[in-house]
Structures are given as C-alpha cells and as structure tokens.
Amino acid sequence: MMLLQSVQEAATQGSATGTAMDWLWLVPMLPLLGFVLNGAISLLSATTLGPADPSAAGHGHRDDGHTAHGHDHEHPEPHKLAWLTSIIGSGVLIASFGVAVAVFMAYRSSGAADTAPIVQTYFTWMLTGDLSINASLMIDQLSLVMVLVVTGVGALIHVFSVGYMREDPGYPRYFAYLNLFVFFMLVLVLGANYPVLFVGWEGVGLCSYLLIGFWFSDKANADAGKKAFIVNRIGDFGFLIAMFLLFANLGSLDFTVLRTAAAGLEPGGVLVTAICLFLFLGCTGKSAQIPLYVWLPDAMAGPTPVSALIHAATMVTAGVYLIARSSFLFSIAPFASLTVVVVGALTAIFAATIGLKQWDIKKVLAYSTISQLGYMFVGVGVGAYAAGVFHLVTHAFFKALLFLGSGSVIYAMHRAYHATHSHEDAQDMRNMGGLRTQMPWTFALMWVATLAIAGVPAFSGFFSKDEILTSVFVRARGSTLADATWFGVPGNVVLYACYALGLAAALLTAIYMTRMMLYTFHGPSRTGEKERPHLAEAPWVMTGPLVVLGVLSAIGGWLNLPAFVPVQPTTSLEHWLEPVVGKSALRVTHGAPQEISHSLEYALVGAAVLIAAIGIWIAFNRLKPETLVPKAQAKPEEGFQRVLEHKYFVDEAYDKVIVRPTFVTSRNLLWRGIDVGLIDGLMVNGSAWTARALGWLGSTLQSGQVGTYAWVLVLGVLAVLGAVTLR
C-alpha cells in the first residue's frame, strides 16, 4: 500500500508518467511476494503436516551429501503442497521477467533512453545530518541488462528446480529462499545509490548462505555456508569503507550525483585509488577472486540449481556489475584499474589450472566460474566495461546451462544409484562415462555450452571473450592504464602480460571443459552394470530450460557482434550501454575510441580461435576416457597433478596461516585470557569478591557486644566534640 502511494508520488514528480516504467517496483516485489507465500507454506506445513523438513526429520544423507535426493534409506514423501509452491515459486519469476521486459520496452521507446537514468524514489530511508538516503530504484541501460538476465535466467532455473527438487521434503523452504535471493539480486542491480545496492549485496549473501547450507543437517554443508558468509564479510568491510570515503569526500551516495561529483576528484589521486581498491576488495569477496575465492568451490554443497543461479549466473557477477556501475571512479584510478586487471588475469589462469584436475563435475564448473569471472574483471579493469558486461551476460547463459546440465547428470546418476541402493559418488566423473547414449539431450546441449565457453567461433562465449582479450591488447598500446605504472612496472607491460595470461587461460579452459565432456559423456560407462539400465534423461521440466539456455548460449553473441563481422547490427550492447559507461571508457582511452587495423584485429581473433582449437585438440588426444577407473579404484595422484587436485593447498595454507592462528588466539588469548580471565575473572567475579570482602568487614563491626557499641559511641561523641571545639 505504502509502495503504491509512493509510486503515485514518484509518478507525479514527473518521471515518465503512465508507462510500464511505473511498474518497475513490481519486478523485485513479485519475488518477495513469492518468498512470503512459500515461506508461509513452509512454516505452516512444519506445524500442521508434521516434520516434513529435513531439519526436523533427521533424514539419512548420502556420504557426499551433495545431491538433491539424499535420502537413501528412507523414502520421504514429496511435500504435500509442492504443487502450490511450484506455481508460486516459478510463477512470480516468470511474471517478474514479463514486467522487466515491459519496462525494457517502455524505456527503449521513451526518449529518455539517451539522457539521464530514471530514478524512482519510494521513501526516505535515512535522514541524518548531511546524509540523506532514499529507498529508490533506478532504471538505466546497465541495470536493465542485469534485470533481464537475473529474471530471465532466474526463471529458467526456477522451472528446472521444480523437477530437480521435487522430492525434497524442504521444497517450499527451497523456493522461499530462491525467491528471496532473486528479490535481493534485483534490489542490488536496481538500487539508485550505494546503500540500497549494499542491501541487495548483503541480502544475496544471506540467501547464498541459506542455500549453500540448505541440507544443513550435514555438517559439511553447514560449514560451507558459514565459510561463504565469513569470507564475504571480509569483502563487505572493503565495500563499507569505500562508501564511507565516498560520503565523507563527495557528500552523497547517489549514483547520479556521484557521476558528476567524481569530476572533482583528482584523477589518479590517493583518494579515488583508495575508494576503488576498497570497492574492489568487496568485489573479490562477492565475485570470488584471489584472494577471497575459496568459498565458491565449497559453495557447490548447495543444490545444483542454486549453484547455477547464485554461484555462476547472477550473484557472483555482482562485483563486475559494481565496477561497471562505478566506472566513473575506476576510469580515473589507473592504479586501481590495473590491480583489477592483474587480479582478474591471475584468477583466470589460477582457477583454470585447478579445473584441470578436479573430478567432481560441479567442482570443475566452480573453478571454471572463478576463471571466467577473472575474465570479466580483466574486461572492466581495462575500461572495456561493455565487454565485461557482455561476457557477464553470455557467461550467465552458458554457465547456467552447464550447471543445470550437470544437475541433470547428477539427477540421473543419483536415481540410478538410488534404484540399486549403491553408495557411490554421483558427482564424480570417474563414476560416469558414456552418458551420451542415455542422455542425448543433455549431452548435445552441454556440448553447445562447452563450445561457447571454450571460445569456438559463432558461439556466444567466443565473441565476449574475444572482445575482452582484444580490449586488453588495444589498451596496452595506448591508454591511461598503459601510461601508469603498477608497482614500478610500466602499465603496458602489465597489460601485455595479462593478455598472455588471458590467452593461456583460454587454452586451459578449452582443455578442462573438453575433459569434463569426455569423461562424463564419452568413452565407456563406468557407472556399473546394475546401475546402467536406470540411467535416463531427466523429465522435460528440467530439459526444457536447458534447451532455452542452449539456444541462448549459441546465439547470445549476437547481442554484441564485433565491428568486423559482415552481419548487422554490430556492437549493439556496447552502443546500448554507452550512456552509462561510454564516457568512462573514453576517458581510459584518452578520449578517442581506439581504432585498430583490421589485419591486427584478424590476427588477434585468429590467435584466440587457434588457442581454443589447440585446447580441444589436446584434450581429445591426450585424455583417454577408456583408461579411467571408477573413483573407488582410483590411485592417488602424484607430483604436480596432486598439487592441482588439491587446489594448490590454498585451503590448507589459509587454514594454517589465518584460520588456525585466529582460532588459537581467539581461544587462548581472547576467550581464556581476556574473556574468562579479565572480564569474567577480574571484572565480574572481582567486583563480587570486593563487595563480599567489604560486607564481611562491615559485619564484623556488629559484634553484638553492647559494651563495644557504647565505647564506639562515646569515642565518636568525643571525636565530634573535639572536632567542634578545636576547630
């Protein structure tokens, strides 16, 4: 009701009256409604239908605890209100997507598209001193792209979840969390100022935590959720500091105000560099970059659609969005931008090497996600904001497809193991093999996504990845970044090195993705004789979204074709985003769009294509799925392969260097020393002891001997008299 009034107010303030844009608030509110309804169903059923939730039922999980239907020994009934939850849960997302499309159309046709963004203010959130923060949403080209991706891909994943989570007793709870996540994600991308964005930022972190630990009766899952939450907290600290600095120096936190106010900052100055670096610290947490990437592989403990939605397609791209949104700051901070590029490139290659030796199908995809996020940061770091966002969009398509496809595989594997009461790991690729005959649709669609991520021409990932790499190369030849130095190294050297790292990561990407496909779908089946007949394609409610995503993965590159292809229209996404990031991008390239000769451009594209081809060729030639043995019989790896399989022992190193010392210090110094010793001992018990001692002293004065009292009385009177007379 309040919102309706506010919308009317906003409308009377003259911001595009009477168009679909007035319904913008519906986009985030519909998922919130879904959350409320599904949450109510979940809570009601907990009281009226008995212990349907896994928390109450104490169900028997599989050892790996990762799979959707982890109930081997008992056969829990699907939730009685599952049909209602399915309708609400995916219905609100589809409706939200519809509204988003309507808003997009209205925005495009209104003349406002080329001028200022449209801000709709609903109420004043905080008003204290000079600080005034409104709860307001903003439509501009960038937020619209994000909203369409979040609601569109989100809706597909919700539909997939209907099939994947069907038999889970916590079904309404799952959809409540998922809807809540989408709500916060939309607040994140629609927020018109940093605090509102931060609300979404924290909210998606919360939902990520809730969904990673969805099967929380298994301690490993609950721990993974905690890890994600705590690691993100470190990044959020940076985000907060950046907001404080912005407000203290520029006096506002609204994007529209800051865009003009940022002109007053000294380019390359300490202040803007500090703000950008702190913002980027926030991004490393949320978007899983070195050094805070460690939570994302563990986040695969959640249900697979969650991995697709939150930990691949949407939430983890929030950092990329944040930098694109703050492009007016990053474009005048070359040092910070170079840091973004270097961290992104290192993350891309580092995660890609780990992805080479993972056996868990979801872990491969997790490290692949980290690696691809690294690419996006390289893109937005070099000031090619449109390229970064473009890769964000295409990545959302093909990575969601890959995750949902792996979910489909895990679903099939788990059903097979379930039918034969086997306790093998349904996610280990050594237990798969030869699935192409049983799951032809998933097989074909995942190959589409694999070709896209590997950068095979005409698929979506090719265009976006190529554009990022080309941008890096071009910026190295001449830009504010190339003129700057990074820890004494000239900027152009740094950029050339990052370009090389990007190419190397592209090679590795092609290898590990082909490896995953080979081990999962090709070669002989290693699933086991008994299980093989039970393997089958997942129901259409799951395969359908895969088909849609497959189409998007294949043709997504058309959003932003490079200028050299003969097909029109080219660079449409870049053109679309120009009002938001165009000025910033130009500032990085000395005010003029960079022209490169066609021969050089063809050479760069050729190099990228060659790299992808070599990667796939290596994978086909060197990897022999025929020689692979199931997990149970596999020998441990040796040498560097072992280092890769154990992810460079980073988790162990963090454990030794940070977690253990913190833990020991907390326990011995803070808990036993300061809390138990100082606070409890000295302060609390100490004051009690002092009071008791004083009381004992006082009580001994009252001896019960009247004679003593009389003496004290007389002496007291004498003392008073003496004092009075002698004064």
Binding site: S699, T700, S703, G704, Q705, A710, V714
Partner: protein, 97 residues
Amino acid sequence: MLAESLFFSAVLFVIGVVGVLTRRNAIIIFMCVELMLNAVNLSFVAFAQVYGVAGQVFVFFVMTVAAAEAAVGLAIIIALFRHRHTVNLEQINLLKG
C-alpha cells in the same frame, strides 16, 4: 554557684559514662544511664537560674521520660533474665552480623 553546679553535674555524668563503659551487669548499666540523666537534669536546673524557667520545664520532661524508660527497661531486663538466666551483657550478643 553555676560553676560549682556544672562541675558537679559533669562529675556525675562522667561517673555514669564510666559505669556504662566498664560494667557488665545490665541493671548497673541501667542505673548508670539514670545517673547520666540526672547529671543533665542538674545542669538544666543550674542554667535555669540564669536563663529562665525553660530549663526547669525540660527537667520535668526528662524525669517523665526516665520514668517511662525505667518501666520499659526493667521489664526488658526481667524478660531477658527469664530467657537467659543472666543479665551479663557479654553473654547477651545474639544480635550480630
């Protein structure tokens, strides 16, 4: 005349105080308290000759209060003796912290 009276009063008062402080028998302490009251009475009367009758009026008040106090005090001592079979104050020390 005033000086002698006051001196005599002071001597009586000090005898009373010393008695209260040194003796252990409740009856004797009680008598010493009476002695102190009468010492005060004496000084009131002596002052009354110089400053008017107000002092004599006070004496009547003091005597009345002393009589009442004697009645109550002696009753308490008798009750005490019935319980404890002693009026030695050193043995009557139940009321302590």
